[in-house]
């Protein structure tokens, strides 16, 4: 083989260098550009929200701000990948002006200096914003770290068990299903299995699903076993509650045929589980209300079900036994929510805040909810629109009062990964006890020794 001749290489390099110099700042026509970034894309993930930004937020904002051009930077990828992208953007002091992030990332982003308190970026206008009085304290907490407000919460969510009523009928299960213990779930799963349902139960597990495993699986179950992942300044190690949770996973994935272990290992397992539920192959699936409003939503969902309102049932996640949940509850849930933050490296921070505040105004929230009803952060809007959707009303009235939040600590995502690995081990055949002790060992390394771990 002959390598290309040296003049050719030099010429090619020169061309590369010259062309790379060409991409500078734009010519400066006097107009200002603001950019919004979110993990949503028209025709894909969170399509409704992308449509709202493009068709309502941008034109309405540009109407009142003549010289401003607003751009939308869509994404439609796994949350972990989106997080990496945003972190790299902010690390290089670039990226969009208004950025959508998961509330749970606020702590680590703030510690890294990637985001700053809203008042530091947007100025005194931030504190005078009318919206604060409309956002309940617990929901504001999603955007708060170390007592400072870093982001505006978009709303919150709750976790339930979704079930397919058609399959339930086939298995002789009630139309209105109200399980009161984990055993009830297993029993229903067994009946579904006997009735020939391919995947009776889908509780997210494994590392491929990322945070969805922790949020839809481990943490609600842990709450149902009466324990929180972080309480009284200590992390929960290989306690009985953790072993119970892993034991429950084992009941489902350890050869009983109640769940599909392979689905948990696939690179696109979560998306597939959505598709399979929509195709009537999954009986019971644990998810947040996101599933209802963005996945099986009849028109714009990623796995739409035309007959969603008739076929898809939802019920609260039961504790292990009645009264066995955290705070002695019969039912449990976990909540999180996305927030919008300002890029501290924005060239037009004051204007960026105006855009952010505009996106969270009552009018904007209402317009967003017209496309997709969800529990917004504003009580004035919620009281008006939530009645339109019985599912969201159910979440607001029945689920949120029993819910719990994740600890907003920077090390949490790593603990979450350790929990995912523990479930992955159980799915691939390790015993619950072994997986629990491996988790304990990993946890000690993460949180600085056994002293920070509770029993």
């Amino acid at each position: 083989m002959r390598f290309p001749s040296r003049p050719a290489v030099i010429a090619a390099t020169a061309v590369l260098i010259l062309t790379s110099c060409g991409t500078g700042t734009d010519s400066g026509s006097g107009s200002i550009t603001l950019t919004i970034a979110a993990n949503s894309i028209q025709g894909g993930k969170n399509s409704e929200s992308a449509t709202w930004i493009k068709q309502w937020v941008i034109p309405e904002f540009e109407k009142t701000h003549q010289n401003v051009k607003v751009l939308f930077q869509p994404s439609g990828v796994d949350d972990e990948q989106y997080k990496t992208k945003i972190a790299l953007d902010l690390k290089s002091k670039a990226g969009a002006d208004v950025i959508d992030v998961d509330g749970i990332w606020v702590g680590e982003f703030a510690q890294a200096g990637y985001i700053k308190p809203l008042t530091d970026v947007g100025g005194p206008a931030v504190d005078q914003w009318e919206g604060w009085s409309q956002i309940p304290q617990a929901v504001q907490g999603l955007g708060i770290f170390d007592g400072k407000k870093y982001g505006l919460p978009q709303g919150t969510d709750g976790r339930v068990l979704f079930y397919n009523k058609t399959l339930f009928k086939k298995a002789g299960l009630p139309d209105t299903w109200e399980p009161t213990s984990w055993q009830d779930i297993i029993d229903a799963g067994n009946k579904l299995k006997t009735a020939g349902v391919p995947v009776p139960i889908q509780i997210n597990a494994g590392t491929a699903m990322g945070e969805a495993t922790t949020m839809q699986g481990v943490l609600p179950l842990l709450a149902g076993a009466g324990s929180e992942i972080y309480a009284d300044g200590k992390w929960t190690g290989a306690s009985q509650a953790v072993k119970d949770v892993l034991g429950f996973y084992q009941q489902i994935y350890g050869g009983s045929g109640l769940g599909d272990p392979k689905l948990q290992q696939e690179a696109k397992g979560r998306d597939k589980s959505f598709a399979q539920f929509a195709q009537g192959k999954i009986g019971i699936l644990a998810e947040s209300d996101y599933f209802w409003r963005s996945v099986v939503e009849p028109n714009a969902g990623v796995a739409p079900m035309k007959d969603r309102d008739q076929v898809v049932g939802y019920t609260r996640i039961p504790a292990k036994e009645p009264g066995g949940g955290i705070r002695g509850q019969d039912h449990v849930s976990m909540s999180g929510g996305a927030v919008r933050v300002l890029n501290p490296f924005s060239k037009n921070p004051k204007l960026a805040w105006e855009l952010l505040a505009f996106m969270h105004s009552a009018a904007a929230t209402k317009s967003q909810l017209a496309g997709q009803v969800r529990i917004s952060s504003r009580t004035d809007v919620n009281s008006e629109v939530l009645t339109a959707d019985p599912m969201l009303k159910y979440i607001a009235d029945e689920v949120l009062p029993t819910t719990a939040y994740r600890p907003g600590l920077a090390v949490y995502p790593q603990v979450s990964t350790a929990l995912q690995e523990a479930t992955a081990a159980v799915v691939s055949g390790t015993s619950a006890d072994e997986a629990a002790s491996a988790y304990q060992a990993k946890l000690e390394g993460l949180v600085g020794g056994a002293a920070n771990i509770g029993g």
Partner: protein, 303 residues
């Protein structure tokens, strides 16, 4: 002997070389040194350690070398390079080149065209095509074989990506060997055939001695490429549970997904060292080969 063949003088020679050296320093040497430095810190993508990384000495290196996942990953990479590059691509590439050497016309053009196509397609496109081929639920392969629900990517993740990479990269070896085989004088092969040498004997005694340097160069290049290949990520994402997590994917997971940039840098440096060992071993073999030839040429009759 006058070493200044171009007649530039020292000053101008330096001036000509300087831009190139500056580029190398900025884009190659500096990042390499920076990686070494990062590898000694607890630098993270987010959190406190992103703002104020602390120097932790060799902890990242000892941590990586003790991490069973790193060692598994290294072993998987060796299997991947050995299986897909050294055995698969080089073997298949040579076989194709050997079979096609005497052929002309449409057969050769079609085979070359097909093999080349897999080489020039963008890797994300190819990755998606193979994902569609091997998928458990709606994969083409399962439809062809009537094995619905067989999870190729989950049950045989390493084998899947090895076959994928053989398919993807054979073109290079085939073309290189095809060119190399033209260096073998047909008269030598004919003489061997007349003397009654079988094909393996012809290969061993006539062909291989002639193209040995091509073989070594080819192996050097493809094993380095394959060692640093990230494309399997598109197919399996390193899963299930790390069973196809070759080193580049492992680094990606550690550094970007888990956000441990310091640890990732340390592992990258280890990979660099492994690559260097590879390269040095091959270069040594090559040099030994050249010296032998020089000796043979000096002793032999004038051409």
């Amino acid at each position: 002997m006058n070493t200044d063949a171009a007649g530039l003088g020292k000053g101008r020679a330096v001036a000509f070389v300087l831009p190139a050296l500056a580029l190398i320093a900025v884009f190659l040497v500096f990042p390499a040194l920076w990686t070494i430095y990062l590898g000694l810190t607890d630098y993270r993508l987010t959190g406190l350690a992103a703002a104020n990384p602390q120097v932790v000495g060799l902890d990242n290196y000892t941590g990586a070398l003790e991490d069973p996942r790193f060692l598994t990953s290294l072993w998987l990479t060796i299997l991947y390079v050995g299986g897909s590059a050294i055995i698969g691509q080089a073997g298949l590439g040579f076989t194709l080149a050997w079979i096609l050497r005497a052929r002309t016309g449409p057969v050769r053009r079609i085979v070359e065209g097909v093999v080349l196509l897999s080489w020039i397609l963008p890797s994300t496109v190819v990755g998606f095509l193979w994902f569609a081929l091997l998928d458990r639920d709606e994969g083409t392969l399962n439809a062809l074989l009537h094995t619905p629900g067989f999870a190729w990517l989950l049950d045989y993740p390493l084998l899947s990506i090895i076959i994928f990479n053989v398919w993807r990269g054979t073109a290079f070896s085939m073309m290189l060997y095809a060119a190399a085989l033209e260096n073998v004088p047909p008269s030598h092969l004919e003489t061997a055939r007349l003397a009654g040498a079988s094909v393996p004997q012809q290969l061993r005694d006539v062909v291989f001695p002639r193209i040995r340097r091509h073989i070594l160069t080819n192996l050097l290049l493809i094993s380095l490429w394959t060692f640093n290949d990230f494309t399997p990520f598109v197919l399996t994402g390193g899963g299930p549970e790390g069973r196809s997590e070759i080193l580049p994917v492992y680094v990606y997971r550690v550094a970007l997904r888990d956000g441990q940039l310091g640890v990732g840098a340390a592992i990258s440096f280890l990979i660099l060292l492994i690559n260097l060992v590879f390269a040095l071993a091959y270069l040594r073999l090559l040099r030994g080969q050249r010296r032998q030839q020089e000796v043979a040429a000096a002793g032999g009759p004038p051409a």
